[in-house]
Amino acid sequence: MARLGVFDLSVRYGKVPALMDVSLHLDEGERLFVAGPNGAGKSSLLKAISGAVPTTHGRIEMDGELLSGRAPENIARLGLSMVPEGREIFGTLSVEENLRVGTGIRRDYQAIAEDMQEIYQSFPVLHERRHTSAGDLSGGQQQMLAIGRALMTNPKLLMVDEPSLGLAPNIVDQVYDTLIALQKARGLTLLIVEQSSVRAARVGGRMVVLRGGKVVATGDAGEFAESDLLNEAYFGQSKAPSGAETHR
């Protein structure tokens, strides 16, 4: 039984289709990258899985339980957490309050306190600034907070939408290092939207490429980085500008 199974998923906004018959799966402890040009439907995929947008057609399962049709707060209770595109931290809440929002679904109070310490150890700057308004943090710090906040629900499956967006390369390194360390420590299953196949290859994992709401390629992230596969997947056959990597 896969940790996450997506079967023939379609999503549309009014008449605009965003995803068409997308299927994919993720095993426990696995890491899957989702790539694709802007407007490919990557964020829509994550929102549909987490219940933030309704599915038009198809099925989503986690550990054999049906997710599609459930409210987002109930999906979170089943052990799924998301770091959305643009972080969406609560700017008027303090850093620590942001971390506590997601703990309402837990009753293991001892473990909540330990998780909080673990996140502060992974991101010491969040500990330093725990009493400041989250809106005053820098972009990189907000990304760390968004990841910490998602982890505080103690998820089995963590989905992260474009963690590198708008961050300096050294910050992106730090974010990924921490994600991977946390995955190892907790046996997390990770689904990450990442436009850069180089970055994905360096981290390692499987990769699914979306374009126009459909899955156009799947494989190992390393293969995409070495070949022109990704460009072909992005731009269609042969039109790929050689050497171009992941530009929008």
Binding site: E73, F90, T92, L93, V101, G104, R149
Partner: protein, 304 residues
């Protein structure tokens, strides 16, 4: 006779009533983008809950006869009850509707409540006597202030402090603040939409009941239209404060109270009848200078 303290107490007590009504509106706007125009009808409903249902001119006290320590929680519960009921019956089915559609529904709900009350109580205003002793004046700093004004000011402080504590220190308060800023994100973190929204309506209805008790004591009448004027002023206070901002609603409530009292006192007699025109002129000036309100929220995420 000392005018300055008198003025101060007038401004604070009027502002306190506006602040409490504005808080009731801002709480609900914060969590579901709804400007609930039925809020004024909740106030009238709570006033009439004090008396026996009848169309007679003479009002017979009913709940209003209860001992104070029982009367207050009962009326607060009635206010919370009608607000929660309207959420359950109407607004729950409109989540995701446009703010305009929800606002129009709230108008419709207000008319329904008003007409039901018309049928039961008739349209005539009735004299009621709730805590008449509170209108006896006490001497403070050379001014003679009705005891009720002091109680209103104290009540406002207690309500504002209590609400601030609730929002800052409790789990439901944290969830309400998170939901007010970005409802979808809060739900993705497991915050239950229904719990937060029901909580906001209950608090809002209890605030309407508190305003009702004050108005009933102060005016000594029960009038079906009595919530309308205060609803309008409170709505304007929430806009000036920055829609959805609770500190903004309180600050703007006091500001409008202060401006009203100052205009009432210092406008020449012959134009005093136009006090509200001057008041709203101030409102327009403030909104021209700060279109988002004095305390605009830092970010406004998508709602349910």
């Amino acid at each position: 006779m000392n005018a300055a303290p008198q003025l101060l107490f007038d401004a604070l007590s009027l502002g306190g009533i506006y602040a409490m009504a504005a808080l009731g509106i801002a709480l609900i706007f914060g969590v579901m983008n709804l400007v609930n125009f039925a809020h004024g009808n909740y106030i009238a409903f709570c006033v009439f809950a004090l008396i026996l249902p009848s169309s007679d001119v003479v009002a017979v006290m009913f709940i209003g006869k209860l001992p104070t320590l029982l009367l207050i929680p009962v009326i607060l519960a009635i206010g919370a009850g009608i607000a929660v009921a309207s959420e359950y019956v109407i607004f729950r089915h409109m989540r995701g509707a446009t703010p305009v559609a929800m606002m129009i529904s709230s108008f419709a709900l207000g008319f329904v409540i008003q007409n039901v009350m018309l049928t039961v109580y008739s349209s005539r205003a009735k004299a009621i006597s709730l805590w008449p002793d509170l209108n006896t004046p006490v001497d403070i700093a050379g001014a003679s202030i009705p005891l009720l004004q002091l109680i209103v000011i104290a009540t406002t402080l207690i309500v504002v402090a209590g609400l601030a504590l609730l929002l800052k220190k409790t789990r439901i308060g944290l969830e309400m603040r998170a939901a007010a800023e970005n409802f979808t994100m809060a739900r993705l973190l497991g915050v239950r939409a229904n719990v937060v929204i029901t909580g906001a309506f209950a608090l809002s209805g209890a605030l309407a009941a508190a305003v009702a008790l004050i108005m009933a004591t102060q005016t000594g009448v029960a009038d079906i239209r009595m919530g309308g004027q205060i609803m309008l002023t409170a709505f304007i206070a929430t806009v000036i404060g920055g829609l959805g901002s609770l500190p903004g609603a309180v600050a703007a409530g006091f500001l409008i109270g202060a401006i009203s009292v100052v205009l009432q006192t210092f406008l020449p007699l012959e134009i005093r009848a136009f006090r509200d025109a001057f008041l709203y002129l101030f409102v327009i000036v403030i909104l021209l200078a700060k279109p988002q309100g004095l305390f605009a929220l830092r970010s406004a995420g998508p709602r349910v």
